[in-house]
């Protein structure tokens, strides 16, 4: 009997209902960076996840957890990959305590489905990463995905109040709880968020929720250069105004959006989209004051978006953060204009092109690079882009790229001096390497 047969037979003894896939054609859907697993497991309950992991651990098999698969490309090339564990059957909203603005949900539910359920009570989870239709809560948390509205609402770490996580041993451990304020014990929620499944499998989450804003409007401003656009951003951030999102779009990204989505954005210079939420009177005033600030910084024209056009605009902006090759660079806001200029120079030097969408208020840039087959030029450009981001007190991660490029670069960059502390944690949580190694920072 092979390793896999023994695994699946034993697993089915524990949980007869559990589904496993061994058909090579079907398994193609579960490939990560071109590496095919030997089989896939699709548990229907948290207990089944626990049993599958316990068994894998005992038998020395390795797992990659998979939600909707929208961000599986993130990370280095997996070392040994025996099985894919898909969580998409864990879709129950276990509790929505609307009067308490909290919910408790299984991690395989998609963000879109969760939002639809919360919306029936006028609430939402204030996370707006791309691919809401496909991305699951578990995937969003483990990859720490976020979107433009993080400027106001923060990221997963600011909203998660509790998690249930299947450990490498198969045991299920809870961290945090279901109340909005809690300092009992170590804050392991923070550790699991963004750990890319290297420490455990998130199977349930408790969140703090937000009420829907009464109104929402987006002001679109254009500038001939990055300095003016960023001077406006910095003035906004240091003002009394409370924008929900400030997105900067360069001309290449703007023309992509115009070409593919039929959106009309000026395709030279820089576009700044500033979103405000709240009551009509507070939005009106904030839009007026933002226009004034922008005019002082030589904004060329301004327009505003409402309703459906606005929703569509933000959807397109979000989706544009995931090209075939997308780098996420983070720099100090004060260094962004400078960094944008550096990107231009690096691209010219290596004869490549960049299209940029940035959460300008947070100093986060999504840089799409092309042509996608210019592997060697890209390798050099990525090195330089990273170096300059680090000089601006930041970092750069290649979030999406083809296998051929990936095997020539370190998508996360070299680990920091504090890496040994991360290694010790991985060692404690998963000493046998049940959760596939090679994908996270430093190969964790």
């Amino acid at each position: 009997m092979t390793e896999i047969e023994s695994f699946t037979t034993t697993l089915q003894q524990y949980s007869p209902a559990i589904r496993t896939i061994r058909d090579p054609d079907e398994l193609r859907n579960y490939a990560v960076d071109g590496v095919l697993p030997r089989f896939a497991i699709i548990p229907e309950t948290v207990e089944q996840v626990s049993q599958a992991v316990a068994l894998a651990n005992q038998q020395g098999l390795t797992l990659i957890t998979r939600g909707g698969g929208s961000r599986l490309n993130l990370g280095g090339i997996p070392e040994r990959f025996d099985a894919s564990l898909e969580t998409t059957k864990l879709t129950r909203l276990l509790e929505h305590e609307a009067p308490d603005l909290t919910c408790h949900v299984e991690a395989g539910i998609t963000l879109a489905e969760l939002q639809a359920k919360l919306a029936t009570k006028g609430q939402w989870l204030a996370l707006d990463p791309p691919d809401a239709q496909q991305a699951t809560i578990g995937g969003i948390l483990s990859s720490n995905a976020s979107g433009p509205k993080r400027l106001r609402y923060g990221t997963a770490r600011d909203m998660v109040i509790g998690l249930r996580v299947v450990q490498a041993s198969g045991e299920i451990a809870r961290s945090g709880g279901r109340v909005v304020k809690n300092v009992a014990g170590y804050d392991l929620n923070k550790l699991y968020i963004g750990s890319l499944g290297t420490l455990g499998i998130i199977v349930e989450a408790n969140f703090k929720l937000q009420p829907f804003p009464t109104n929402e409007r987006t002001l679109i401003l254009t500038f001939s250069n990055a300095e003016d656009a960023m001077a406006t951003v910095i003035a906004l951030l240091g003002s009394l105004l409370t924008p929900t999102a400030i997105e900067l779009i360069d001309s290449n990204a703007a023309s992509d959006m115009t070409d593919f989505f039929g959106l009309t954005l000026p395709t030279n210079g820089y576009t700044l989209a500033v979103n405000f939420e709240g009551s009509t009177s507070s939005i009106d005033r904030q839009i007026d004051e933002t226009r004034l600030l922008a005019r002082k910084n030589d904004a060329l024209l301004s327009d505003d978006l409402l309703g459906k056009a606005q929703d569509e605009f933000w959807n397109i902006v979000r989706e544009h953060t995931q090209g075939t090759i997308t780098c996420k660079a983070v720099v100090l806001v004060s260094k962004m204009a400078n960094y944008l200029e550096t990107i231009k120079q690096i691209c010219q030097k290596h004869e490549i092109e960049a299209a940029i969408v940035a959460h300008a208020g947070n100093g986060i840039l999504y840089i799409e690079l092309r042509p996608v087959d210019a592997t060697f030029r890209l390798v050099e450009a990525i090195k330089e882009l990273r170096l300059h981001a680090q000089e601006a007190r930041g970092s750069m991660v290649v979030e999406r790229c083809p296998f051929d490029l990936k095997r020539r670069i370190n998508v996360w960059g070299e680990p920091d001096q504090n890496f040994f502390l991360m290694q010790r944690i991985k060692q404690q949580f998963d000493s046998k390497g049940t959760f596939v190694k090679g994908r996270f920072v430093g190969g964790l």
């Binding site: 923070k190 005033r285 996360w412 920091d416």
Partner: protein
């Protein structure tokens, strides 16, 4: 010591033995060479000041050191590690759970000399501070430029930011803006090996595990923080502070629930019950009615328009729930007066009782009426008086149980009542501590909300970084038994 613990707990050998007199002399000499003799305290008279915090526990350190730099902290830790002497960091000693109590003596690192603001960057909205900086001093430095640092524990006039990081401190204004962890982006730490390590940084989303998030609230059991990078924010344009007076606790609690449920999230909602009101009024003369059952102190801030709308909504909800009166502070002086009543509440209770014991449970906000009733019943059952003053908007309770340790058996009853209250919080899906930390005080109560597996997984982190418990030993997790010298309250 855990309030629930019976005095007759079987004893187990302590994690560390007290250091011998000769060893102490040797280590004091070594530390004096490093820091200068005046920054190494070791005679009983000097040490007494450092044997307590704001909790009920006490234990004297063997040596207190006052380093002036990260390098000195690292060197101290290396000496401690080489001699296997435990190290406990201490900010201002305002902690309420015994986090800074050196259970096994050893070396206490006091950050009084590392109290500087190293850098303020108004463009990127960051400040870098040393751990000994008093919380309020940061906001005082930022205010003239129109900025401030958000977390505002009631002890902010004396507590330090290093201590705030250790405990993940909250405060009244964290309802809207979050607690310490939501405002810290990076820290510099010293590990038990004496290595200096940078964690997180100035920008968001540093690749790798969120070690900053993990360390905040780790109560000094993983590392010693020597530098902190915080977010600063613009002061609000407008602030309105209101006081609503209620004739029943239920009306007040239901008002809180409805405000939250309507989606109005004010900057703060604080509740004080009758006993607290009477104590506060006698002390501060803030104008609170002494015959009311409960008062809500609420604050909304932001843009003028937002504040005006929120104020209207809040007043309407208060009226709907039979508020006897709703008063809005007419000016800053009155606003400060309203707040001074709240911020001095603990002190004011000292006027009506020789001692009190404060708990820190959190419950879902919808369960406030039930839990407040249960707290009353529990304390009645033990023949104890209790007052409530707390962050109602977060569901973070602070019942103050009054007692007099001179009365035989009273301490015992206080312990049991405290434990029972936390058990009720756990039973309704809440937690045992919202901002004070576990420390020594709630070690046993961790088992009320976490399973054996949950606790073991947490301890893996300590095992990874502080395996010999050189830093702050014997805290945070339930102990198998307790050493003999910690038995009496």
């Amino acid at each position: 010591m855990s309030i629930a613990e019976l005095p007759s707990t079987p004893t187990t050998p302590p994690l560390f033995e007290r250091i011998s007199a000769s060893k102490k002399t040797e280590v004091v000499r070594e530390l004096s060479t490093l820091l200068g003799a005046r920054y190494v305290l070791h005679i009983p008279y000097d040490l007494m000041l450092y044997e307590y915090d704001a909790s009920i526990d006490r234990s004297t350190p063997d040596i207190v050191v006052l380093p002036a730099s990260t390098e000195e902290v690292a060197a101290i830790v290396k000496i401690a590690s080489r001699n296997n002497i435990p190290v406990v960091p201490r900010g201002a000693g305002t902690g309420l759970s015994g986090g800074a109590i050196p259970i096994y003596g050893g070396i206490m690192i006091v950050f009084a000399r590392m109290n500087r603001i190293l850098e303020i960057d108004y463009t990127n909205l960051r400040a870098v501070v040393q751990p000994g900086l008093v919380n309020l001093h940061l906001s005082n430095a930022l205010n003239p430029q129109g900025f401030y640092y958000v977390p505002d524990p009631s002890s902010q006039r004396s507590c330090t930011i290093g201590g705030n990081v250790g405990e993940n401190a909250g405060g009244p204004h964290t309802l809207l803006y979050g607690v310490t962890t939501n405002h810290v982006l990076g820290v510099e730490i010293v590990t038990p090996e004496g290595d200096i390590v940078q964690i997180g940084g100035w920008t968001y989303d540093t690749p790798g595990y969120d070690l900053t998030g993990l360390l905040i609230g780790s109560e000094g059991t993983l590392c010693i923080v020597t530098k902190i990078i915080v977010r600063i924010v613009h002061l609000a344009e407008a602030v309105k502070t209101m006081v609503a007076v209620f004739d029943t606790m239920d009306d007040a609690s239901n008002t809180v629930s409805e405000i939250i449920a309507t989606g109005v999230i004010p900057a703060a909602i604080e509740m004080m019950d009758q006993m607290i009101l009477q104590a506060v009024e006698a002390d501060t003369h803030a104008g609170y009615p002494m015959d009311a059952a409960a008062v809500l102190l609420m604050e909304t801030e932001g843009l003028r328009e937002v504040v005006a709308e929120q104020t209207d909504k809040i007043v309407n909800i208060c009226n709907k729930h039979q508020a006897r009166a709703v008063r809005i502070a007419v000016n800053e002086t009155e606003r400060q007066l309203f707040w001074s009543g709240r911020k001095n509440a603990f002190g004011a209770v000292g006027r009506i009782s020789p001692e009190f014991y404060v708990q820190d449970g959190v419950v879902p906000r919808t369960r406030l009426p039930y839990v407040l009733r249960r707290i009353g019943e529990i304390c009645d059952g033990y023949g104890l008086r209790v007052g409530n003053v707390f962050h109602a908007g977060d569901g973070n309770l602070h019942p103050l149980i009054l007692f007099d340790s001179q009365i035989p058996g009273e301490v015992e009853r206080v312990r049991k009542a405290g434990h029972d209250i936390l058990a009720v919080c756990a039973e309704v899906g809440g937690t045992i501590t919202g901002e004070h930390g576990v420390g020594i005080e709630k070690q046993e109560e961790m088992a009320l909300i976490f399973s054996e597996v949950d606790l073991r997984v947490m301890q893996q982190v300590r095992e990874a970084w502080n395996p010999h418990q050189l830093f702050n030993p014997g805290k945070l997790f339930p102990m198998p038994g307790r050493c003999a010298d910690m038995k009496q309250l």
